[in-house]
């Protein structure tokens, strides 16, 4: 009976990652670099939005992008071609999310000196990325109109960790029963402080408001 020895651990699997992330955040603070973690479902418009956004801010601050994908580099090339800024691809090796350690490895490949802002396009998924702090200063997510306004009810964790919710593809609103007021109500149930900005990444409508939010965030981080 006494040959089994039990060692109590009682530790969340996410504890180490949370520590890594906090360390990365304070290093970025020291360097004056702001990291934004952008999440969404596949195809909600992350890359299209980033192109619109970057072209509005790249003359004001130095921006770089890290594209996380399970296995391809089409998004990194698209960003570089459409904006001319530094854009690198991170392969997650089959993993459905990025953690702080993978983010740090990605940042090692970005020329951080003088870079004010790094935007991380996380893996398209509303579940796993929400569980892992990447070390970003803020989390933002894109919800596109065809996905429906009830997503904040179905993926509460994602919406509770995001400070900015971009509602994209408002041009197709007439074809879907998407209710922006309901959406805002559900988002605020999960995070009362979340900012919600409706946009159309295709035409650029509303993207100025996102650019203003981000420029102010970066300014505050550096001062």
């Amino acid at each position: 009976m006494t040959d089994v020895r039990v060692i109590e651990i009682k530790k969340s699997v996410f504890a180490d990652n949370n520590e890594d992330a906090a360390r990365l955040r304070s290093e970025l603070k020291g360097r004056g670099t702001y990291l934004l973690n952008l999440m969404s479902s596949p195809g909600s418009g992350k890359t299209t939005t980033l192109i619109q956004l970057i072209n509005r801010i790249k003359d004001k601050i130095k921006v770089a992008v890290m594209e996380a994908d399970i296995d391809s580099d089409v998004d990194a090339i698209k960003i570089k071609d459409a904006t001319g800024i530094e854009s690198i691809q991170l392969h997650t090796g089959g993993m459905c999310h990025l953690d702080a350690e993978m983010t740090r490895q990605g940042l090692d490949n970005v020329s951080l000196d003088g870079t004010d802002l790094v935007i991380l396009e996380n893996v398209g998924n509303l579940v796993c990325p929400a569980e892992f702090d990447t070390g970003a200063v803020r989390n933002a997510m894109i919800l596109s109109v065809p996905e429906g306004h009830d997503k904040p009810l179905k993926y509460p964790l994602m919406f509770s960790v995001c400070d900015l919710v971009i509602v994209n593809k408002i041009d197709v609103m007439p074809y879907f029963d998407f209710d922006l007021d309901k959406c805002s109500e559900y988002v605020h149930m999960r995070n009362p402080k979340a900012r919600i900005i409706p946009i159309c990444a295709k035409t650029g409508e509303g993207v100025d408001a996102v650019a203003d939010w981000l420029l102010e965030e970066v300014y505050n981080w550096k001062h």
């Binding site: 020895r5 039990v6 060692i7 651990i9 530790k11 180490d16 999310h97 149930m189």
Partner: protein, 113 residues
């Protein structure tokens, strides 16, 4: 996919705990997994078998899973209810102003050596 990533974190933590306690081989790892943690226990044990057997210290080591029932509390009437049965809406007062109390744990409880 998510489960495999989790398994790598478990392996790292278990190896560290074993080293700190001067243990050479671990026979079992006991996990607390919340009902709504998004972890599928069967996938977790499959991924565990595949990855743990690649580690000398964890060859044949069993992964035991305790499921922690999910409980939600209501911000309006203050009562608690079973999350899986009723979801986001309080069955007592119909409010949607509800918060998960427990049930999203992904925690290493203990190891048997």
């Amino acid at each position: 996919m998510h489960e495999l990533g989790i398994v790598f974190y478990i392996i790292r933590d278990v190896k560290q705990a074993a080293q700190e306690n001067g243990v050479e081989h671990v026979n079992a790892v006991v996990m607390n997994i919340g009902e709504v943690s998004t972890i599928v226990p069967e996938y977790l044990t499959d991924c565990w078998r595949w990855a743990a057997d690649k580690e000398e210290m964890l060859k044949g080591c069993e992964l035991k899973i305790n499921i922690i029932p999910a409980v939600t509390t209501c911000g309006d009437c203050g009562r608690e209810y079973e999350t899986v049965k009723y979801g986001k809406t309080c069955p007592h007062c119909n409010s949607a102003n509800t918060w998960l109390l427990k049930g999203n744990e992904v925690e290493i409880k203990e190891i048997e050596v």
